[in-house]
Symmetry: C2
Subunit: 478 residues, 2 copies
């Protein structure tokens, strides 16, 4: 078995890796920009073709249409499902991934063209390089490696690849519900690699925060005035946004902090034991001062407390230079990361009621509209589940060390959906680096080694080893 | 003389007016967007060629370069000067105008392509249609009308047409200084038509507010984090912006309100006598409620009190849709309209000191940088000056009514510069409507009559009549 692995690993190292990643990153599959929808459709077809060429049983599943704010509808990108192997004596894993990306423009501060994958010092720079195109390709390459060496897959492998993750996985929940008793019925385990390590050490992720994303729109419909005669919508919007968070970062919306599960002694001990260098983290994210000066507080606020972030304002002047227009309709975008035991429906009510109450106190003649456009729950797993034990063994085999057991500050809403709908066990197995810059400028698939493309190549080996470890899980323990 | 006017007026009514305006509006002469600089150069050449074809003595005056925020330099658009007539027995007027425009994109909410002049119900829609391309063309057409009928101009006419007005007339002050004793030495009066009426009644404008435009930049340089570990620059920026203005619109920056000249009884009486319908104004600007419920307070706050407007934030997410990026560097743009006796140098210090003090109280680890990028003084004229008396007669002749005597809430910095540098008397004579939407979406050259292009055509007639009235001003009264 060891010799088999060596063969597979050698095959991986000889492969011309970045070409697939380069082709995929070149497709501007931005799911939040409706203008880019044809690119997104092309992305899904590219994925389906790839899996079909590999001999998989592939379907492009129609998940319907999306309603736009203006009432128009737009076709959603199809979901790609695929199956390799159908041996009922083997376990079946289902790998989830997504191939849509966040918006990216060179002028946002990218050092390279975001849609032209560029290798610098072994790192692969491009929008979607780490989130989530390379991990999806690594899983595909893992299957290809077994195939190339004419080795049987140790488990049946299914894929579910979607194209709306970055805007809330529109249509996917309904698709999972619809196929719960068909495609998902034979699945034993669900694997997600849509996250990153905490340090230079490989990690297994056992929790994610959810996300409630809000639009707060203030408008008055005025036109063509200079200041002095109307209460300007921007003044009102700034005023209400300033009531969300205290200068020290405390959330001021009543009820939000009260809903959070208290930090247990066991959790405190667990965080305390994580090898996490605060100074290193500060350097890597590029700040001089963090909100918390001790490790436990910092990790806890990254992972298991809610946060409010204000992302920007639509409708106001946002270009370089000067413009004296007084906008008549401005929409703030902000989000609240969700943790146990918060409930998005409750958060929606808390935020809406609170903003309307602070707006009412301003006695403004303008109109406020608050809408929650994404409401994704958090997710938590048991780190002693056989899936995690198998992960620890695979990591030990490939990296010769124990993994960090971590949670994720960001949101992977689908984990929670899979858990709620299918009842299957889920593991998150990241291969991206902690400073990959997901959703930011200069996103990259990092290389945490002098060896170029280290995480991408070693990550693929990890997936190969993991498929083998999962095959060893005893039936009784499912 | 009356019969001469009738000839000229008839000529104007027969002219194919909108073609010149259409050609000019089609040039995207946006002075705040450095990418559009070639268009701006083309605009200045178009103006120069037009005046040259009319037989004027024309110069394209090099006014040097502009330094960009990144330290690079960019050639400024040349200033066009022109002269028609050189008879020392006549008065010489100098007409100032600008042909650069504010930014405009269809997606900002324009009903028509902003750079394709479109006539709807007699109104001419397009960016720059009213601010300031049509008024400049109306002056040119006025000169052309005299020429077409082989009539001598009653006064010598000079033109100064610039291309940087919308971003602070960079380079123009120095050019006026340099030509004070040459081009401007023979000038008796300066005429500016870069403003609008207050109502359906024609107006003469005797004052403008100045403008101090600020950038407030907060940054931390972080990258690739989800909320919870750093104090986000957006939170800090929103926090300090919220200290500029109270919910009811009161300016909170210490020292600003104290510097304003008190409202005199005479002024109060003057405002009280203006025929201004509050409900009509509310309807026209499209709001349900104004900041002040009586006419005098409203006009005073439009014209002679300072205001703070927040225009937008650069560097934050501003597109439609959702994006969870936490921006590392955000720059707010806001401006303070200046009135007597405020001093921009003092305002710069007051704003900078105040924002740094409120920022210091937040104890944020982030960095704040405050810069004043425009500092334009207000301007006031004497409404009993012969220039204004001549204006009242010309308006009576063309419109058969007395003008509103008004001030302008916006800024025409050049009026103050002309006054300070040349010492000449200045008049502002608007022809645009009060709801032309300058700097906003759907800017238009309005028609305040069932007759199409009424303001544009009658405005041209007014300029023709005014040149004649100015020629009657006695030498001694200069």
């Amino acid at each position: 078995s060891i010799s088999h692995f060596l063969c597979v690993f050698l095959h991986i190292e000889r492969s011309d890796f970045p070409q697939g990643e380069m082709d995929w990153v070149a497709i501007e599959s931005d799911s939040s920009n409706v203008q880019k929808r044809p690119e997104l459709h092309r992305m899904m077809e590219t994925v389906a073709q790839k899996l079909q060429l590999m001999g998989g049983t592939v379907q492009l599943v129609d998940i319907g249409e999306q309603e736009l704010p203006d009432g128009q509808t737009l076709e959603l990108p199809k979901v790609v499902t695929a199956q390799f192997g159908n041996d009922s004596s083997k376990h079946t894993v289902c790998i989830y991934g997504h191939v849509d990306v966040q918006p990216a423009k060179l002028e946002d501060g990218w050092a390279t063209d975001p849609y032209n994958l560029t290798e610098i010092n072994g790192n692969l720079y491009g929008r979607g390089a780490s989130d989530n195109k390379a991990p999806v390709l690594a899983w595909i390459h893992a299957v290809e490696a077994y195939q190339a060496l004419s080795m049987d897959l140790p488990v049946n492998v299914k894929f579910v690849i979607e194209g709306m993750e970055e805007t809330g996985s529109n249509g996917l929940d309904a698709m999972i519900m619809a196929q719960r008793d068909t495609f998902f019925s034979e699945v034993d385990y669900i694997i997600i690699s849509d996250c990153g390590w905490l340090s230079r050490r490989p990690a297994l992720t056992y929790g994610t925060r959810g996300n409630c994303y809000f639009f707060a729109e203030v408008q008055d419909l005025h036109s063509g005035v200079y200041g002095g005669t109307v209460i300007e919508p921007m003044t009102d919007l700034i005023g209400i946004l300033d009531t969300l968070i205290s200068p020290s970062g405390k959330i001021l919306i009543p009820g939000i902090r009260e809903a959070v599960a208290p930090l247990s002694d066991e959790e405190w001990k667990m965080y305390q034991d994580i090898q996490f260098d605060m100074d290193n983290y500060k350097n890597k994210i590029g700040v001089n001062q963090l909100m918390y000066s001790n490790k436990v507080d910092l990790l806890a606020h990254m992972w298991r407390y809610p946060t409010v972030s204000i992302h920007g304002i639509e409708g106001a002047f946002s270009d370089p230079g000067t413009k004296t227009v007084i906008p008549a309709k401005v929409t703030a975008k902000f989000s609240i990361r969700q943790v146990p035991d918060m409930d998005p429906a409750m958060v929606k009510k808390q935020v809406t009621d609170y903003l309307h109450s602070v707006f009412a106190k301003r006695k403004s003649p303008n109109k406020l509209k608050v809408t929650m456009v994404i409401g994704a729950k958090p997710w938590l797993a048991d780190t002693h589940h056989p899936l995690y034990e198998a992960g620890k063994v695979a990591i030990k085999r490939v990296f010769n060390m124990d993994p960090d057991l971590i949670r994720e500050g960001g949101t992977i809403p689908i984990a929670r959906t899979f858990q709620d709908v299918t009842g299957k066990s889920i593991i998150m197995m990241p291969i991206g680096g902690f400073d990959d810059g997901l959703h930011s400028q200069n996103e990259k698939m990092s290389s945490f080694s002098l060896s170029p493309r280290y995480n991408y190549i070693e990550g693929t080996k990890l997936f190969i080893a993991y498929l083998n470890e999962v095959s060893q899980i005893k039936r009784t323990s499912v």
